[in-house]
Structure formats: C-alpha cells, structure tokens
Subunit: 319 residues, 2 copies
C-alpha cells in the first residue's frame, strides 16, 4: 500500500482544531495567546537509538515524543496550548503511524494541547516536536531564580528510566514484573504539567530532569550563581530501584537521565505551599537539599558526610 | 577537538535576544505577540539527499533551512519574529557548524527573526526549524480564499532550482556560469517575505511553491473549491532555462519544485495594487492565468489551446 505525503497527513494527523484559528493544512498554523500572556516555546528532537530503542511500541513513542516537550513547559510553569510535529520516516509504515498518532494524540488530549501543523518527509527516523504554552507575563519559572537558603525539591521518583535502559543493555537483571514497571517510566514518562502550574509564585526556579539530576541542577546553579548541598540518600526512588545495589541506586538517581521530573527551589517559608501544590497536582514532592551561596554542588550521605561526586551528566555528543 | 552539547549551543547559537523575553538556554523560550496580532507558525524538516545534496556549502544550507520556513510565513503574509532550530548531526563538525550558523543567522538578521531556542543531538543529519511570525487578526493570506474570476500570479521565476538539480544528476549539461546561476536558485532561495506582507488585503489567497507550481496550486484550488486556467508559456523563467528544450522548460516551471516563489490570486480590480505591491517588495510578479468556477486545472499553450497535464507534483514519499 502506498500512501502519498498529503494522504498520510490527512489520515493520521488532521483533526478539527478548537483553540487555534487554523490547523494542519495551510502554509502556517494561526493562533493567539490570551491577553497578558507570554508564549512559552520548546523544541525537542528524538532520534532512534539515542532517545528511544527500536523495540519501543509506536504508541509509547508517540506519547514520549510529546511528553518530553510538555515537560519543558511544566518546568516553566506554562500551560500547554498547541504543538507542531515534524516527522522523518524511512518509509510509509501505517502500523507505526497508527500507533504513534494514537499515543501522541491521547497525551495531547489529556493536556488540551492541539496538533496544529508540521511536516512529514522520507529519511532516517526522526521526530521533532515544537510545543507552545502560555504563562502570565513575568510568571514563568526560570533557571535563574534560585536564592541562597532555598530548599531544593524533586517531584516523583528518580532513576527508573535509567534502570530500565541498563536492563535493556543487559547490565542488570530484573524480574519480569519489575522490568515492566521501570520500562513504563522509560517509555511513558508523565510530564509534571499540573505541578509546574501549581508552583507559579511559589517556586523560585525550576528545571526538568532530562539529562540527570546533577547535570540539570548544575544549569540552575550556574544561571543563579549559587551552589547546593544534595542529600544523596534523600533522593526519592521506586521499590524496584531500592532493591538494587547502593552504587547503582546512586548512579541512577543522581545521573540516570530521562526522568522528566521537576527539580525546583523554594524558600523555606513556602514549604506548606509547596506541599499544597504537590497535593493539588497529585504528585509526590521530596526535599532533597538546599541552595547555598557557596559555589559548587556538594553531595552528602545520610550522616551529612561529603560523598565524592563522580557522576557525569548525559551529553548527547559524549555519552 | 571534542565539544559537548552545551558548549556547542553556547559557541554557535547563543545570541543576545532583543525581542524575546528569554532566548536559548532555559527550558522554554518566552516571547509575546503584539496586541491584536495572531501568531503564525510553520515547521519544516530538511533531510540530506532529499532536501539538499551532500555537496552543499554549510552556509548555504543554513540559509536554505531558514529560507524555506520564512517562505511559509511569506505565503501567509506574516512578519517573521523568531525561530527555533533542532539539529541532529552524526558528529560534532565545527567547520560545518561555523558555516551553517553563519548562513542561518545572516538570513535571520536580514528578516529580524531571532533564534530563541532549540535542540542539538547526535544522529543522521537532520534540520528542523519552526518559525514564528505575526499577522493582524483575520489578515492572513489563506489557501482557501481564492474566488472565481481572480487573476492568478506568480512571483520571480520558476524552474531554476529543478534545472540545477537535473544538472547535478547529470541529465542536463550546463556551462559553468549558467550552472552557478541556477545552483544559487536551488541553494540560496530568497523567501518573498516583503511581497507577502505587501499583498495583505490585496491578494485573496497565496501559497509558496515548494513541491511544484501545479501541485501547490492544486492545494489552493481544492481548499477554495475552484478550478483554474494556467497559460504554460506565460510562466516566468530565467534566461538560462529559456535556452533549454521546451519540454524541459515546461516540466521545470510547472512541476520543478523548490522554487519558494509565491503563487497568489487577486481580483482583476486589484491589478494596479498587485503591481504596486510587487514594486514595493522589489520582486517581479507575472500574471499566469485565472481562477474559474469550473473544477480542475487546465493548461493552455500560447494560442489558448489545451495542453495535456502530465506533470506530477513532488511528493516526499513518492519522488
């Protein structure tokens, strides 16, 4: 069966848009932000073998491609509006497209984020999504806003996605049930959009953990011109990861990557509001350390003793 | 020399933003549209061997990657504001990056279109740009606006990019000077942004010619529920193309692709305004036919006789 480019777009990706003035099918998509709102934009490109394995189910890939972009909006405290999808595929594969569109659009519907345009072409598999959100003027959570004395928090749990990757690589062995649970963390991450929105006006800075906690936190500290103490044993983790050797737990939580949880800072006086925001967003939040005026990132064990920081961050050109 | 992802971004793509509130280097870029303006968004993905040849100079590739996106804004009559760039490369190639960024940012500066964010990753060479423009509410040029009786126009000349491609493929032979001229059309297309802006309120519909005149015009006619007569011999072409056999001239102008000229419609009463818009935008505009209530696209020769329409459109999954 041979479908041309335009038929493809029509069959899988054309939907009636409600918020946008014009969706898929013209030279541009058109939409407006609400008065007083800034537009927040993020773009992420996913490449096979680097951001996902060839074994991933198409619907999970569709979910993840949008989820990693929504996670960037969450880290800014922006409300999702719309997205564009550019897709290169080696050949027209309808089974892939059907599943991919299903997973993608299910997550889009959940967040009321409309597909408004994009591009399809022949080429090595590559998914590029650009997502649009809106945030009241001046209210975005930035990397640069952390203050000395702020508490340091992380949402959800860390490290499961990396544990799943190591299981796929064969460096750890997991029972079937445990494997399926961490595989879900890797293949169907849940962007913390509701938490990001709830933290506006409460958190002083935020970032999403995509390359590993320490590496991403370092961006916040560099932008804010500050340092931090992180209590390695306070890092939240799943029961599956807790059953692993301590060294593996540490590397997965501190530098695993692909977590899509929010790391954020807030003054101690906002602790109750942070807890309320977490409850409203129905996601757990854990205090993992604090921001300090002294530059550098210090890792501490449960007794407050310094741990050597030998954990690298994930770099798409070094890893 | 080994530069990591973050160093790369900083070295080649971080610039001080003037219009955007926040540029490259946070989770999202932030910017606002002016009051009463709609945002116009377009996304195009370029793949080696399909949208450009491996022989293209990096600065020309940088130019073209943005030009094809600006051309979509032009076709909507939108004024460029900003863009994001997602880039997959097999390896860090600084010579490539330096040239690519130079060509890209020179065109961006020319159109006051800011680079505000994006992504870089390791993978088969792939360039995905999403461009943002603004247009007064309701003023965008759409594909659906053509009216029966409208004149049909095209900007600039058609067919040179395809002639260059055929020369690269070895199916035609061109003298060195002639080759360099058509190669420029293929590798450094000039998006008709000024013309698109000048045509707001004058043209009834517009599209940019990326897949070939007949194929792209068919989108306008389908969306508008109309037909058209096109005078094949009226199609504007360069002296280089005029020196070629007539059959080649016809296939290059009617279905060549990669032209990035604007095809648009306007009522005969607007003819003087169209001419004034073209003059203001410093680009030639040629009347090539007219829109009719009768469905279908009819090709006519210089004596008004029907020509068989055997010209296919470029399809990224069929060509």
């Amino acid at each position: 069966m041979s479908l041309g480019e335009f038929d493809l777009i029509a069959k899988y990706f054309t939907r009636t848009v409600t918020r946008a003035a014009l969706g898929v099918g013209d030279d541009c998509a058109l939409f407006s932000t609400s008065p007083g709102m800034q537009l927040a934009v993020s773009s992420d490109m996913l490449v096979e073998g680097r951001h996902f394995l060839p074994t991933v189910a198409p619907d999970r890939l569709g979910h993840k491609a949008l989820a990693v972009n929504l996670s960037d909006l969450a880290a800014c405290g922006a409300k999702p509006i719309a997205f564009t999808l550019a897709l290169a595929m080696p050949r027209v594969d309808e089974r892939f497209l059907e599943g991919f569109a299903r997973g993608l659009l299910a997550l889009a519907d959940e967040h009321e984020c409309e597909l408004i345009g994009g591009d399809t072409t022949q080429g090595p598999l590559n998914l590029c999504i650009t997502v649009f959100g809106e945030v009241p003027q001046g209210a975005a959570l930035l990397r640069s806003g952390a203050k000395a004395g702020d508490d340091l928090y992380v949402s959800g749990t860390l490290g499961d996605a990396r544990l799943a990757l190591e299981a796929f690589r064969g460096t750890v062995a997991l029972a079937g049930d445990a494997f399926e649970r961490v595989r879900l963390a890797m293949e169907r991450p849940q962007p913390r959009v509701a938490l990001g929105l709830a933290l506006r006006g409460i958190a002083t800075s935020a970032i999403d953990v995509s390359d590993g906690l320490l590496g991403d936190l370092a961006h916040v500290l560099r932008r804010s011109g500050l340092g931090a103490e992180v209590r390695a044993d306070a890092l939240p983790r799943s029961d599956v990861l807790r059953a692993m050797p301590e060294a593996l737990q540490r590397s997965c939580t501190l530098a695993g990557g692909d977590d899509y949880e929010l790391v954020f800072t807030a003054p101690p006086a906002h602790a109750a509001q942070v807890a309320a925001a977490a409850q409203a967003a129905q996601v757990s939040v854990t205090r993992i350390g604090n921001v300090s005026a002294a530059a550098g990132l210090r890792l501490l064990d449960r007794d407050g003793r310094a741990l050597p920081n030998t954990f690298g961050s994930f770099d798409h050109f070094k890893a």
